[in-house]
Amino acid sequence: MQEFFTFLYELFIGEHPNEAALIRNEVFPSVGLLTLFITLLMVLLYYYGMNSLSTRARFNYTGYWIGVMLVNAIICFVVALNKIANGLEVHFDDYEPYFYYFAVENAFYSIFFFLLFSLIFKTWSKHAPYVPFKFPMR
């Protein structure tokens, strides 16, 4: 798990110059799991909350799907920023550029996870099985 998330996060931003070990052990796994969990919840909320509970089919448009995906990305951005700052016990005034790179990267991964979960769960949604596109349904 730790190796997986380390590979994922260091792929684009590299390792932290001073606290790489701490971040690899404590920050990457928790942020990664939390991002997966939050994204899963948001996907379930979109497909089975907003698009299955009510008779009204108001949200089964790509625009709404993108909206939920962006909200999820912002949440994941904030979670990542907060987690890395807390992990290294750094005050807001002393945030390093590395923290922001990491948060942005996490937001991008959340978009990827959102798309992945959408492909898995959209099939059983009442109103939105064709959002954001028809594939893999016939």
Partner: protein, 481 residues
């Protein structure tokens, strides 16, 4: 169930049949296996008749894709004579009309006036003025039933009449629609009835027709015409002509099983046109009520109509509608509302969704399941449906609502939640109620799709629309005001 041969004589006959067709499109219960409308109008270019014939053709095309069903939009078969009688000789016209006059034929030519003896010519000159004799019959009888009563005799010599006799089976019924204050209807109705009830007739099927149950609708004056020097029709004579015809009916109308009368205070005068393409009168509530008389006639059992006497019927709105210039659901009796309220509301909801929203519903599962993205623009069925709504159903509702007295059952330009004229807003939700819109209807269609859609055919589409709009009516609209 058996067939109903429906004779619509003149412009009024055509307009009543138009209203009946709208009700049938809505899926109103019709207790006949098929309706065979026969439009009798010497004025083949009459705007009202042409509009009705186009509507009937469209209905027939749409129904053919769907087939007869227990319930649903366009569920009852409308056939031409050609459909119910195997025309081996190919003499029948393929439409719903009864063509029986040569083009531009004058009344004089028709009766061969110049070859008659001098005494006969003198007698005819007394009965028919020179202007009447020399007028062409291509726009009808211009309000002259005395001409019609002679010319329409030729009807029975046409191949259409022969085929009608051959296609008529014991148990089938006949209904004749006519106005009493014009020319074609006033003269055609007694003449047709006399022919049907004659024991001396020898045409094929005469025996069955002679014993058939026959009903009729006589429409008394309900509109006026502007005075015009260019027209031979004078609406000031409508009441006098009605009285004269009623007097004739009293003594000479024999053999009817049911007779329906309908009329209204004359509130509006139309443009005075003798006939032809210009005669396009606005739809009127009286014509819709006239159409109800046909449904009522079919509701009676044979035993109830075969008691050796004529059952007479009139129609009344609720007492508070007496002076109402605008009739809404609230002014209709419970019986009428039960019969047409739900079907017409469902059709209106369907029409609104179809014309205003369906093309935008591409992300809804039912839209994908029915493959509408490919079919809406290519399959003739969907084009016909669009033509029906845009060229017939909406104009009909608009004319009804703009006429005087106005029939305004629906708010024509408002959003879906404010559909019912004089009714409460349509809302949904158990605790926090909100106005119904197309997204709610889309949701209903999606919920129903798996239990309805089988082969993605127009039949599936129409069943989905019928059940979906029915669910909306049952859960969110009823009761009507």
């Amino acid at each position: 169930m058996s067939k109903l041969f429906l004779f619509g004589i003149g412009g009024t006959g055509a307009r009543v049949i138009k209203s009946l067709t709208m009700l049938m499109a809505a899926g109103v219960e019709v207790k006949a296996s098929r309706i065979v409308p026969i439009l009798i109008d010497p004025d083949a270019r009459n705007g009202d008749t042409v509009r009705t014939m186009n509507l009937l053709k469209l209905y027939k095309n749409i129904h053919q894709e769907l087939g007869s069903r227990e319930r649903g939009f366009f569920k009852t078969d409308i056939s031409t004579l050609q459909d119910v009688w195997n025309d081996k000789d190919g003499k029948l016209s393929s439409g719903f009309n009864f063509p029986f006059l040569a083009n531009n034929e004058t009344f004089e030519n028709f009766i061969d006036f110049h070859n008659l003896s001098n005494r006969s010519q003198d007698l005819l000159s007394l009965l028919f003025g020179k202007q009447s004799r020399e007028s062409t019959l291509e726009v009808g009888f211009k309000g002259n039933p005395n001409i019609g009563s002679i010319v329409l005799n030729k009807l029975t010599e046409s191949p259409e009449f022969t085929s009608f006799g051959k296609a008529f089976n014991p148990g089938d019924r006949i209904f004749i629609i006519s106005s009493i204050f014009g020319g074609t209807g006033a003269s055609g109705f007694p003449l047709l009835l006399k022919k049907f009830r004659s024991t001396e007739s020898t045409y094929a099927g005469a025996g069955a027709i002679n014993n058939a149950i026959i009903g009729a609708l006589t429409v008394k004056p309900y509109f006026g015409l502007h005075d015009s020097d260019n027209s031979a029709i004078d609406s000031n004579t409508f009441i006098t002509k009605t009285k004269a015809a009623l007097s004739y009916y009293l003594h000479n109308l024999k053999g009817l099983n049911a007779l329906y009368y309908v009329a209204d205070t004359i509130n509006k005068s139309y443009q005075n046109s003798e006939g032809g393409e210009e005669q396009k009168n606005q739809a009127h509530i009286v014509e819709l009520i006239g159409a109800l008389s046909i449904l009522d006639f079919l509701d009676y059992r044979d035993s109830e109509l075969n008691e050796g006497r004529t059952l007479y019927h009139e129609y009344g709105l609720k007492s508070d509608a007496k002076n109402a210039s605008q009739v809404e659901f609230g002014h209709l009796s419970a019986e009428t509302k039960n019969k047409i309220g739900q079907p017409l509301t469902q059709l209106k909801v369907f029409a609104k969704h179809y014309t205003e929203h369906l093309r935008e519903a591409t992300r809804h599962p039912y839209y994908e399941s029915l493959e509408l993205n490919r079919k809406l623009d290519t399959e003739p069925f969907y084009k016909d449906l669009n033509t029906f709504f845009q060229n017939h159903f909406y104009p009909w509702l608009k004319e009804l609502s703009e006429n005087e007295r106005s029939l305004r059952l629906f708010n024509l330009n408002n959003e879906l939640s404010l559909l019912i004229s004089g009714g409460k807003p349509i809302r949904e939700g158990k605790i926090f109620k909100s106005a119904v819109d197309f997204t709610y209807l889309d949701g209903i269609f999606t919920n129903l799709r798996t239990s309805i859609i089988r082969d993605k055919s127009p039949k599936d589409f129409m069943e989905l629309m019928y059940q979906g709009t029915g669910k909306l009516y049952e859960e969110n609209i009823k009761p009507l005001p």
